[in-house]
Subunit: 163 residues, 2 copies
Amino acid sequence: MTEEQEVFLAHIQKQGLKRTAQRDLILDVFLRTEEHLSSEDLYRLVHKEDSSVGQTTVYRTLKLLAEAGLAREVRFGDGLTHYEHHYKHQHHDHMICSNCGKIIEFYSAELEAIQDAMAARHKFEVEQHLLRIIGICADCRRAKRNAEKSRERIRSASARSTR
Amino acid sequence: MTEEQEVFLAHIQKQGLKRTAQRDLILDVFLRTEEHLSSEDLYRLVHKEDSSVGQTTVYRTLKLLAEAGLAREVRFGDGLTHYEHHYKHQHHDHMICSNCGKIIEFYSAELEAIQDAMAARHKFEVEQHLLRIIGICADCRRAKRNAEKSRERIRSASARSTR
DNA sequence: TTATTTGCAAATCGTTTGCACCTTA
DNA sequence: TAAGGTGCAAACGATTTGCAAATAA
C-alpha cells in the first residue's frame, strides 16, 4: 500500500466513511497520472478500466481526495475544475500555453516572499494564493518561427520563378 | 462625451456595428461603478434604470466592452465572470476576502519583474498573468478578534455568577 | 432598405442532487 | 443491520444561442 493510499484510508476512517472498490480505483488512476486532470478527464481514464463507474462517483471522489489532502483543486479559468497531486507536493504556480495548453509548474521563493509582504501591508491574512501566467511556451514559439521561415522560403521561391 | 464613450463608439464603428440606447446605458452604468461586477450585478443595476433591457444584452455588451478594451474579464473562481474597468487602468492584482468578499487591488513592480524573469527562464512568452491572494481582510480579522473577546467576557461573567 | 440588435425561451455545459438500490463495516 | 455509497436521471446556475420582431444606418 502506498503512502497516499494510507492517507486516503486514514481520512476515510476518521470521517466514518467506507472504503469501496470505486474509490480505490479512482485514487489509483489519479496517482498514475502526472497531469492537471479535469473530473471528466479522470472519468474517461477510469471508465476505460471499469466501465461501470459513473461520472458522479468520480466528482464525489475527487472532492474526497481534496479533503484528504491528496489532490488540489485548480481553476485555470477555462470553466473546468482541474485536480493536481497535492500530497507532499510543494506549493507552486503555473504557466499555461495558450497555444497548446501545456502547463509548466514553477516556484519562486522571492515571489512568495513579496506576496506575503504585500498582504502584510494590507493587514491581510493569506489563506492561499494562485498565480497563473498565460502565454506561448518555448516549443510553440519555435514552431511559430519555423512556420514563418518556411513561408518566407516559399515566398522568395515563387518570386524567383515569376521573375 | 467621455473618453470611454468615444473609445466605445470608435470600436463599434470600426466593426460595422450599431450604436443603440441599450449599449449606451449599459456602458454608462458600468462606468459609474468602481466594483468588480458580474454580468448579473450589472444587469440588476441597468434593470433599475430601464427595466426593458434584457440579461442577454448585458452579457453581449460586456463582451463588446472587453473587446473595445474598456472592460477586463476577471475570473475569481467563484464560477462567475466579473468585469473591471480596463481603459487606462494599470495592470494590478487582487486580494479577495473569503469572509466578506471584499476585493483589494494592489500592484508590485518587483512582483511583475520576478514573474517576467521566471517566464524568461522557461523561454515562455508572457501574454498576461493573474495573481489572486485569498484570505481574510483587516476588517474581518478585527471583527473576528472582537467576537472572541466578547465571548470571553460572557464566559468569565457567567463563571463569576455561578461561583 | 437591409444588416444588425433585441428580448425571449430554449439549449448548453460542468457540476450537484434526489432517490431507489447496493455494499461495507 | 444500519450507515454509507452508487449510478442514473433530473435539477442546477451561469452563459450562449436560435429566432422573429424591432431598429439604426
